[in-house]
Symmetry: C2
Amino acid sequence: MSQVNVEFQPVGRRGEFQGGKSLLDYARKLGVGLSSVCGGKGTFGKCRVQIVSGSSSEPTSREKSAFSPKQLKSGWRLACQTIPSGDCIVHVPVESMTAPQRTQLEGLDIPVRLKAPVKTHDIELALPSLSDTVGDADRLLRAVKAQRRASANSVDISVMSSLSPNLRAWSWKCQAMVRDREVISVSPQHGRCLGLAVDFGTTKLAGYLVDLTNGKTLASKGLMNPQISYGEDIISRCNIAASSAEGAVQMQKLAADAISELGAILSKEVGAVSSDIVEAVVVGNTAMHHLYLGLPVAQLARAPFVPAVNSELSVRARDLGIRIAPGAYLYTMPNIAGFVGADHVSMLLASEVRQAKGVIVALDIGTNTEISLIDHGRISSISCASGPAFEGGHIKDGMRAGTGAIERVHVTQDGLQYETIDDAPPVGICGSGIIDAVAQLYLAGIADAGGRMKTGHPTVREHEGQYELVLAGDRERTGSAAIVFTQHDVRELQLGKAAIRGGIQTLLDLADLNDEDITQVIIAGAFGSYLDVSSAVDIGMLPALPLECFKQVGNAAGMGAKRALISTEQRAEARTIAAEARYIELAGTASFNENFVQALQLGRYRLIHGKREEIL
Amino acid sequence: MSQVNVEFQPVGRRGEFQGGKSLLDYARKLGVGLSSVCGGKGTFGKCRVQIVSGSSSEPTSREKSAFSPKQLKSGWRLACQTIPSGDCIVHVPVESMTAPQRTQLEGLDIPVRLKAPVKTHDIELALPSLSDTVGDADRLLRAVKAQRRASANSVDISVMSSLSPNLRAWSWKCQAMVRDREVISVSPQHGRCLGLAVDFGTTKLAGYLVDLTNGKTLASKGLMNPQISYGEDIISRCNIAASSAEGAVQMQKLAADAISELGAILSKEVGAVSSDIVEAVVVGNTAMHHLYLGLPVAQLARAPFVPAVNSELSVRARDLGIRIAPGAYLYTMPNIAGFVGADHVSMLLASEVRQAKGVIVALDIGTNTEISLIDHGRISSISCASGPAFEGGHIKDGMRAGTGAIERVHVTQDGLQYETIDDAPPVGICGSGIIDAVAQLYLAGIADAGGRMKTGHPTVREHEGQYELVLAGDRERTGSAAIVFTQHDVRELQLGKAAIRGGIQTLLDLADLNDEDITQVIIAGAFGSYLDVSSAVDIGMLPALPLECFKQVGNAAGMGAKRALISTEQRAEARTIAAEARYIELAGTASFNENFVQALQLGRYRLIHGKREEIL
């Protein structure tokens, strides 16, 4: 057997192998997290890949049933069935990855032109003398002004408070960090100039450390949101903040400390210190945004759900108790509305939706799902109450996506197979597994279109008068109770998915568009990355479009924060997005209720003049 | 005897009296602090006043010897000798007041056009609704922009942190305080909008509370500088701040607390609260300026004596720990140099020196005396080490100007008379008394021009081989030691006054001018107000010009701070003064040493081509 070179994209892993093995085998060797629920038997079709160039074995019968002849011609294959016969380049779509989010967290370059809000200037100052007794800060400004393309007319008080001894210790040489004509930090020459981008999620924070002089991501890190100890959901945290001044201070302090900690950990990782961070960009949903800025939230929770502020803000980090460079600012993107926050703007920014042609639907799926419809650049946004099911909430054995969570389910004729996160023994089922489970129940005929389960399949049992799917049985669990998916769980998911699909449909209605007009569906967020799009389409949660129309973009909010961190042009674009986006209150629309009801049923469908038409 | 109406200006006191008494009697009844060291005998000529309109008794022989015929014709009289024969208006020059500083502290209107840096706008906001969910801060900005002559594009985070509940509690009506396009404070409608001006002296702070909507001074208050417990002189406080980070923090905190306290006391006095203060202006000498801003001072004390910053600054008050409105700024005027600070700029501003015609000498007398020569608008400034004698330092029985301090001395043929502050029993001698004492010793022939004392006068005794003037004898002091003024004290004062006169002379030399070219001598500061100008001229401390040339302006630095508080035009003028003032290092001049030596001798004199010529 001759050697073959195999390259997997967009993850960018490649290797040289002894031939004769499948693409799945090579992917495993390279650590590419390809979905493999079938164990290499080609039974589930989860390991779909596209061979961009190169030759391989002929399609097997399983592949012929998984793909149309047109798809096969375009190079679509099942990785477990395909044996390369020469060098090849393989495209792995996000939906075939088990852990696409992790890949995105590791961070690629930021595809925008560097135009950082903070610029560094290496400066050499004239020595003071009896004939030149200009003050130290004025001397610094004079030297900055003498630089090419530099301009500054003030020095932050925190810089001045140590500038005089520093300049003398550094022999009148320094690096000045200038933001909006203000010197916000000074360091010895050739020092670091770092930026911190944070996606401040309700559950997790994702932090990215970026070199502001070249726009490169140096390190990234996830951290639990410490506010979670005060309540998993946003509402309970807002209640704490709204009920007392101490509560508000506590929520803000937890947030500030978490951001500071992220900065400290990331700095340390690259041999720097927190005070090398001279700019931070933080994005979150409107409630999180208010909590980390210490803004009041009581009015957010009551109609008409008004934010304390919509506009973008630059707040001195020290005013928020965030421990980075003392003169640094924290920038937050604008909010669109009380339930469509800066993180959604950030996601739209990273997805470059205003520049895209056609009709785009962009979703952030969570307890509240924010959806924007972008019709040739015109943005309309809604928020719908999709409930906690996608995060494992209100589901009998539900859990958040973590080690041991069942994230893939496949019901076979005589049984059931699943995958867990980190291949650990199962402890519960997370959002992507829940959607798989419902889809599989429906496709296997165990649940009807209305979601009602019936018996007759070996994995279904009756318990207290209700049917339930046994994911991991008593025997397998040795001592622990079985992990099940109940009739009630199906109902819970139906409500959530109907809210999302109803929301999409309402946006289409208002724009006088149909499913077929949609060019692309962008699904952001951690859950959105793990989600099996086919399953979501099968249960009617997402429109029945060709899979190529869906783009799972991972932590796009974090990517948007990185863009804003290194580019004032991107900040201007974020302003434009928020200013142009038209927020629509679903309660005020004519069609949402009808659309919601239509979306409750399982199965692929579309609406024709308001009438549901199943797609087989 | 018919009734007479007598009005004293510029203090603005008037009353109707039974005729037949002297102007001094009426002044006393009205509480006008006219100097009266002679006890009404007309012997000292300290109670000089000018009758601006009205008729009075013919000049007495004492008055004829005190004034020239021309002066008498202009209405100059001794208040103790003059009996009004009808209604009259009397001008009381500062040098005839015992407590001019107190008068100035009580504060008159500020003679500049109101152009406050903080403007208030009464706003009524549109109520939010489901069809208008604009954020609260954005809603506020929208309403401000809709006002005439109003503009704002940001809201301080401290305002936003309570804006949402406030607007709802105030039924969407409020007063917005806008500074430089930023909303820095919000209050219920028709709330206060106050400013705090502080002259931050080495010994005392003088605070003024001003209504920023009309420019009126509402209250004023003096406070000891609490840093004094760490050393009376600037150097020891700078040493503390320079020797450790804790020391620097402590010095800054003491300053911030004192400013906060002044604000709190003054607010309370007018029924307001500290948070009604939305702007503060603080001026001080360069060292004080650095200490209250928390700037490093080590480099200030070493050649080439470079300030941490010269430029004017607007620093958020909260960044300095100053407790006024959370969004308020503290503005400080620019420094000219390490030893010519913002307080001198403020004094020059209040004296309107750039607008004045002719040649002006402006002095702030203290341990360091700052002197500016303004030659038809062109400003040159120096600082000379005049020593602590003017504040009672290094003088055997010296003390600061306080209750019981001897502030006036008159040596008669057979004895001595004095006045004390508050007419209290004597406890020591303060700066103005010291200058009087030396002048009287010289005029009475007890000390020669070289300052050497001799015996032969009943008030002079010998003690440990040195002559000394007994101000309050053992008998009078009943138990306490006598209060004396020694030969050493005369020497100490000679050094101090020679530095000042030498400095003035050097400025004149550099501008190629003589004493006779001087149009006006402006003497600022508390000590400068109490100083007897004749005595200062008699000892050769000040040029021998007609008394009309001297203007004792009291706390001009405080007045300048008030101007800057209510007028951005005055801030621009302060910038211009600091930018145009040429600082001259005396050590670098050719003539200072020679001028200093010439100025050591007592007696009125002028220099003709560098040669001392006595004036009799």
